[in-house]
């Protein structure tokens, strides 16, 4: 059934979460002096995972391919940067709701306009809105132009003067991001399997039919758009805290494109796929960056290969692992080992076509 996955998905995700969660234990042993840097990288990957997940609700679940999702990511970053006082930390208790509110309002306005379009036009209109904000913040004096805005203090998490969490501590911040990803994941899983999620699946499969049944599909798409935008803005807020600044590049189409690639790499519409995609993408990029200055070429080739070999992304590999027989038949392997693959595929054949002859 839709949105129910084999047990191994849960097992693999739990194991991976545990491995990430105990990074402070194994990190120093593996990376030595680089461990702190690696943890920051990992924090960033978690933030991107949250971002990619939010986009999956739109692209994978509802079927609306957005090329302007960084709009909300950057909006979260800029809201935090501009609303933070210059010489003291802001309280997270009003900062987070403010970021969510700003993103929700922006998503309502943008969504109201773009939801009417479909297919390529949806891509273009979302791109247009993303670029509008990009050029606005990179030219406006109030947003620091191309330099962006620096954030001097990360928001404080206090109750009645007692500090609950010290977000300036990289380890604490790392766990906060991990918790956000887990909560975000559980929320999206719940949402996709709820009645609302069923309607979104219906829209994904056949919007026309949903209208004929009586659904005002536009409303549902708009709600999904807003939820997705709010989640992205939270990721953007965390990213701004992590970097210590909000920058126009955070809301350009480059960022939108990258997160879309994470989604494709990880597997669209699965919610857990984008998390894996974000990690895989960042790890690949990190590796290639160290190999050559022309790393974008390697990155591009890898993505193309990934799409060719894994059309359903990494998630598809886990949900439906290829059997030996199908592996032997797959074109890349036959191409690599023409001698060995041929008899294997023939060995499989007789079982299937036999009844057809009779």
């Amino acid at each position: 059934m839709l949105h129910t996955y084999p047990k191994r998905v849960v097992v693999i995700m739990l194991v991976l979460t545990a491995i990430v969660a105990i990074f402070p234990l194994w990190g120093p042993a593996v990376f030595g002096a680089q461990s702190d840097f690696m943890m920051e990288k990992m924090t960033l990957m978690l933030i991107l995972a949250l971002f990619a997940m939010s986009l999956d609700l739109l692209v994978g679940i509802v079927g609306l391919v957005s090329l302007g999702h960084a709009l909300f990511f950057g909006l979260g970053a800029y809201t935090l940067a501009l609303a933070s006082p210059a010489f003291s930390p802001a309280a997270i208790w009003w900062m987070a709701p403010l970021v969510m509110l700003v993103a929700a309002l922006a998503a309502l306005v943008v969504g109201f306009l773009v939801i009417r379009t479909r297919g390529i036009f949806f891509i273009m209109t979302t791109l247009a809105f993303g670029q509008m904000l990009y050029y606005f913040v990179s030219t406006s004096r109030h947003t620091g132009g191309t330099d962006g805005v620096f954030i001097m203090f990360r928001p404080s998490v206090e109750v009645g003067g007692a500090v609950l969490l010290d977000l300036d501590n990289p380890l604490t911040f790392f766990y906060v991001c991990l918790a956000m990803v887990v909560v975000g994941y559980l929320f999206l899983r719940w949402l996709t399997r709820s009645f609302f999620g069923q309607v979104l699946d219906g829209i994904h499969d056949n919007e026309h039919r949903m209208e004929a049944l009586g659904y005002a599909t536009g409303h549902y798409k708009l709600v999904a758009f807003v939820i997705s935008g709010v989640m992205a803005s939270l990721a953007g807020m965390l990213a701004a805290m992590q970097y210590g600044f909000a920058n126009p590049s955070q809301l350009g189409w480059h960022t939108s494109g990258e997160v879309l690639m994470m989604l494709i790499l990880g597997g669209m519409g699965t919610v857990f796929g984008p998390i894996l995609g974000a990690f895989a993408y960042e790890i690949l990029q990190h590796t290639f960056e160290h190999l050559t200055t022309h790393w974008p070429i390697l990155m591009g080739i890898t993505i193309i290969l990934a799409v060719l070999i894994l059309p359903r992304g990494i998630a598809g590999l886990i949900i439906d692992p290829p059997s030996r027989a199908s592996l032997a038949k797959s074109s890349p392997l036959r191409w690599l080992k023409p001698g060995r693959a041929a008899p294997a595929s023939e060995a499989v054949k007789p079982a299937a076509p036999a009844p057809r002859e009779g």
Binding site: R209, L213, G214
Partner: protein
């Protein structure tokens, strides 16, 4: 004679220079099975699409239960109680049979919010969905994804989905298209059973089923109504025989 449920006056739809439906006066009475017959391209499907609000008429009036509904959106008309099925199989392939029907039932029982707010409502949706499956004899397929079912079963599921919306008026666009003899007979029985509770408008090519099912028949040719009346009258009509039945019988005898 029972009351008129739906009527159109001077209903016209043009696509560019083509007049697909031309000044059609058409009425459906309560609790009847009204079949629309006509050769390919006669405008039958366009008429259904106009009635269900898929696209607005160029001219003319549609009244449903004495309220004008022309120009309303498909979703509004669906929620007023006109349920329809499409000529092409149009189920949600990734959802199970039951989920397909739940989706259809939910929007007519308070929508997603209604089901979230009250457990009773959510249960009512499940009950209605199951009932629809039972009527269409698909209960044993409840948890099968629609994509995994046979073509005939998918067609039946489509009828079940319309049923789950508990419409006052059902518009069925070729419910038996592409079905085998046995399945056709089965669906004919099903539709006959529905006639007690629902009002049906039916486009169908299968003559035997039409004559067995319909109380009244409207014959369309080139976007116009050729003749409308009780089944016996249409069966005996010279005009209709020339235009449509004649052709059909020639095919049969050939």
């Amino acid at each position: 004679m029972s009351a008129t449920m739906l009527e159109t006056r001077g209903l016209t739809r043009r696509f560019g220079g083509l007049v697909a439906v031309n000044e059609v006066d058409f009425d459906v009475r309560e609790n009847e099975i009204h079949a629309i017959l006509g050769p390919n391209g006669a405008g039958k499907s366009t008429l259904i699409n106009l009635l269900s609000g898929e696209f607005p008429p160029s001219e003319g009036e549609i009244r449903f239960q004495d309220r004008p509904i022309q120009g309303r959106k498909a979703q509004q008309i669906a929620r007023m109680g006109i349920g329809r099925s499409h000529q092409k199989t149009n189920v949600f392939p990734r959802l199970t049979c039951l989920q397909n029907c739940q989706l259809a039932a939910r929007i007519h029982l308070g929508g997603v919010l209604g089901s979230w707010r009250s457990r009773q409502r959510a249960r009512a949706v499940d009950e209605r969905a199951l009932q629809a499956l039972e009527t269409c004899q698909l209960v044993y397929r409840a948890y099968t994804p629609a994509a995994a079912m046979s073509y005939g079963e998918q067609r039946q599921l489509q009828i079940a989905m319309v049923l789950a919306t508990e419409p006052t008026l059902m518009l069925l666009d070729e419910p038996m298209a592409g079905m085998g003899r046995e399945e056709t007979a089965q669906v004919t029985e099903l539709l006959k059973g529905l006639a007690d509770t629902y009002t049906l408008v039916l486009i169908e090519h299968d003559m035997d089923s039409v004559f067995r099912l319909a109380n009244r028949i409207t014959v369309m040719v080139d976007g116009c109504v050729l003749e409308t009346g009780p089944t016996a009258q249409i069966r005996a009509s010279e005009k209709v025989r020339d235009v449509y039945l004649g052709r059909h019988q020639e095919e049969v005898h050939a």
